[in-house]
Symmetry: C2
Subunit: 547 residues, 2 copies
């Protein structure tokens, strides 16, 4: 085997008989000596990974050795070999176990003691029978590098082919990703050993329906942190427009919203004035045109766009495609002085957190173009927050070694994560906004549902829901998600310190939306069950520019 193969394929197994946490000092010393000898050997062989098995009843020295191993090697990965469900121990031994000590707690202790090092993973051993859904769910957030399935989890079907139950198969598929190593453990009754079990898992994987487009679009972005767009400060690139225009759900919802408005509120008008602000390369203009055709209603249609590059495409479409049915205007929507005010002002300015790309400020600035009786599509937007365990994403932030990383809300398709409670409403904005004076600062104290299980809080996933018009909505909030829509990934508000949350505890957080003449920013902190500092105080790490 070549050196590269040793690194890529071989998993080293550290001795299991060592007793790092024995009460006998000589055994502890000896175990530590063996550990470093084996690490030196693994390094010599250029192995990429070693597995190590803690004693679930005493593991503090074990954790220290992992930490020292991580700190004294540069590239070696460590997988902690741990069962999903604690093995039943004889009563005498069981007395030494802390009551209710879950293997996940053992893992969480080791991980925390090792500072959430990204080279520390889990080799998770599945049980014969699945535990409660909560427990499986909590493991989904963890860095499961290897998954061990026991042969006893399978039943033999009539043709003697081993099979997993539907629930077991679902749990299995939920816990693995494309690069998880799968291991079969236990005895086999088959002449060809464990091959039939692996075959069963392989066909389970192959039997999955091909991913839909929205899933395919997302795969490369899973747990990948992106800084939020700055649409007012930067001009969007053509490719960015292109990705967004492909969304199969968003524009059909917009079309439906415009159609509904034309056929209800404006059913008696002969012709309706529709203004698209932030028209980009024209997708909402096309929505309006399709809705007009469907509703058999004439439009006086305007497309306003500030990006001088997108205007080129719009002017081209005006000539070649729309042939005079649309007036294209190059202007910032906030400065534009229209000849005619709009019945319907259409825009798509929402960010992952609703208002985080400054839709309230832009629409406030544009609403002088709406008639007194006119409407805005969207009519409103509401942001939502949800406490989550997201060790993968948090570890990536920590590896940046700067407070700025923890004070920036990132756009990220959370994949390895676990929600600790359902999402709760945060800020709401309504358009047009008739308040006086206009004030887009907000503050909210959010109290989440009590945690159902002991877990760890790394931050808050943010979503939005928006009423486009009457019953026509778009949403990226899990409970009301617009199926198939892929234009928005969630946003993630990190915490600089992960907080342990115990079963029954209520997470309480406070978030502010602040502004000054030149920028808008968020600040947030956790109040209960423990306190954190205010993140992004005075917008010091992150803001959205108004200019």
């Amino acid at each position: 085997m070549s050196g590269a193969h040793w690194t890529a394929y071989v998993v080293g197994k550290l001795s299991e008989w060592t007793e790092e946490d024995s009460k006998c000092k000589a055994r502890v010393t000896n175990s530590s000596r063996i550990y470093f000898q084996e690490l030196a050997w693994a390094t010599h062989l250029n192995i990429g990974v070693v597995t190590a098995k803690p004693d679930l009843r005493a593991y503090l020295n074990f954790a220290r050795l992992m930490s020292q191993g991580l700190n004294s090697t540069g590239a070696l990965h460590f997988w902690v070999d741990i069962p999903m469900v604690a093995p039943k121990l004889p009563t005498v031994v069981a007395n030494t176990l802390s009551p209710g000590e879950e293997p996940w707690e053992v893992w969480n202790t080791i991980r925390t003691m090792c500072e959430g090092n990204r080279r520390l993973g889990v080799l998770l051993r599945m049980p014969d029978k699945l535990p409660k859904e909560d427990i499986i769910q909590r493991w989904k957030a963890e860095p499961i590098r290897g998954l061990v399935v026991p042969t006893t989890a399978f039943t033999a079907s009539k043709d003697l082919i081993p099979k997993l139950s539907k629930e077991y198969a679902k749990a299995f598929l939920g816990l693995i990703t494309a690069d998880t190593r799968i291991i079969i453990s236990g005895s086999s009754i088959y002449p060809n050993g464990h091959e039939p079990f692996l075959g069963a898992l392989r066909s389970l994987w192959q039997s999955l329906p091909p991913p839909t487009e929205d899933v395919t679009v997302g795969i490369p972005y899973r747990d990948f942190l992106q800084a939020p767009l700055q649409p007012l400060m930067d001009n969007l690139q053509s490719q960015t427009y292109e990705v967004f225009e492909k969304d199969p759900v968003k524009y059909s919802q917009y079309q439906k919203a415009i159609y509904t408005a034309l056929t209800t509120k404006y059913k008696d008008e002969k012709s309706v004035c529709v203004v698209v602000v932030g028209a980009g390369r024209g997708p909402l203009v096309r929505c309006a045109l399709r809705a007009s055709q469907e509703a058999k209603k004439d439009l006086r249609l305007y497309a306003v766009e500030k990006n001088p590059n997108a205007i080129v495409t719009l002017r081209n479409a005006e000539k070649e495609e729309w042939k005079g049915r649309v007036k294209v205007i190059q202007s910032d929507m906030r400065q534009w002085e229209p000849d005619e005010k709009a019945d319907i002002l259409v825009s798509e300015l929402l960010g992952s957190f609703g208002d985080n790309e400054l839709s309230p400020e832009c629409l406030d600035g544009a609403q002088h173009s709406i008639k007194t009786s006119g409407i805005s599509i969207p009519k409103d937007s509401t942001s939502y927050l949800q406490p989550v365990a997201a060790p993968k994403v948090w570890g990536d932030l920590q590896s940046q070694h700067t407070i700025k990383a923890f004070e920036t809300p990132y756009v990220v398709l959370l994949h390895r994560f676990c929600p600790l409670a359902q999402s709760e409403a945060c800020f709401k904005f309504v358009h047009p906004n008739h308040e006086k004076p206009l004030d887009n600062t907000r503050e909210k104290l959010i109290r989440f549902q009590p945690a159902k299980i002991d877990s760890i809080l790394h931050g808050f996933a943010g979503y939005f829901e928006s009423t486009l018009y009457e019953e026509v909505n778009i949403s990226i909030r899990p409970k009301t998600f617009s199926k198939g829509m892929f234009s928005w990934f969630p946003i993630f508000f990190p915490l600089c310190i992960p907080l342990k949350i115990n079963k029954g505890q209520t997470v309480e957080m406070k978030i502010w939306r602040r502004n000054d003449e030149s920028k808008v920013w968020y600040e947030w902190c956790v109040i209960k069950p423990s306190l954190t500092p205010i993140h992004n105080s005075n917008g010091r790490s992150y803001h959205i520019g108004l200019r």
Copy 2:
């Protein structure tokens, strides 16, 4: 008044009528506007400090404003105006108070939300009647910049001079330092207003006995972080020796220990061989000579020292002062091959944490010079740890913006701090060490007494106790402190995250003493009530060199 006077003497008072945490948005917005107007005015006047008063029932927006103020000004200090005891509110209002909400909790929340910023202090208002000692004690750890004493706390004595009760006076003196501003509040019956009250406090201060030498030595070092000595890697400076030699207690204890050994264990010997290792400039040699005179026992006395600079002083004393009664040898005690082995090996190698200046390694290396029946003075040393709240010292570490600061045990005379439980024994070393093989690694899981009050844990104060010989001890552990001894300040093992500890909770921590061929180091972490990462894993931030 000159600009410098404005900065040094004037304390600005931010408006108290503002309602940052009102449920009415307009009031919140207005309060915020006023706040920034007043800050701008304070900055214009070059004032050094402003005070601000939170509503004890709702203060999250208040805390955010403090945080924004701290982050948007460079030098302005903020004092939070807060009572030591919550005022009794009318029943109707009291319903809105969280049960048991202590003003300290309010302060702790504000401080935590503001990241423990060092420009945030307390203007503490004392009550008419003192609360429980625990509550006063907890405030002692806090940055009390101003202390307000109400006139109602005084009683008028016969000659109509106002006076504080003994307990009140004690609490008052415990809460102030030399730079605390004192304010009298409330009405006065005296024709010359508040002057008699200030006079009473002034004479209270003046009536204090002059500080003893050990206190005087310590004053400039209060809460000042020092990296521990590295006696094996560096040669001590003459001044360092000089400070240590002044200790009035340590050397009299050493003399007593040698005297006791000479008059009990060696009472029948005509002459005793005494070897002083690490003799420095000779203080222990003088102890031995005094003990010999007192016990009327002849000595064969050797002084071993590796520092080539200290040897100059020793050789000089050998000639001029000791006139042949002492043999001076320049050598590392670990390499020295004596002509004659010692009955008594005397050394002073202990650090603040006992073994932290490598006394076990040095004495193991020197014990070949002891007769089989011989003894070591000191006979043993035990380290102690105590959980403490120490926001001042922790803030200084945080301002270094590096993980290294939190992973180094510092020598520091803790002054603004509050112990959360009594100290518990940690590591013990006995000399000479007859174990085989010699092993100076240690590990200890320490469970402290439950906390008596809600508080915050910033780290662990470390002390030592040592038996010199039989009943003769030295100790810097608070409970058994050798009164008047000033050679050692405590050591402080910090935590990278302050942990909230609630009343009744038990702090559990684990500490390791590790070594390899070239160095010794500690690693530590908290296990309960919450977890921290392992500090100083693999000695990455701090170690004591063996060479």
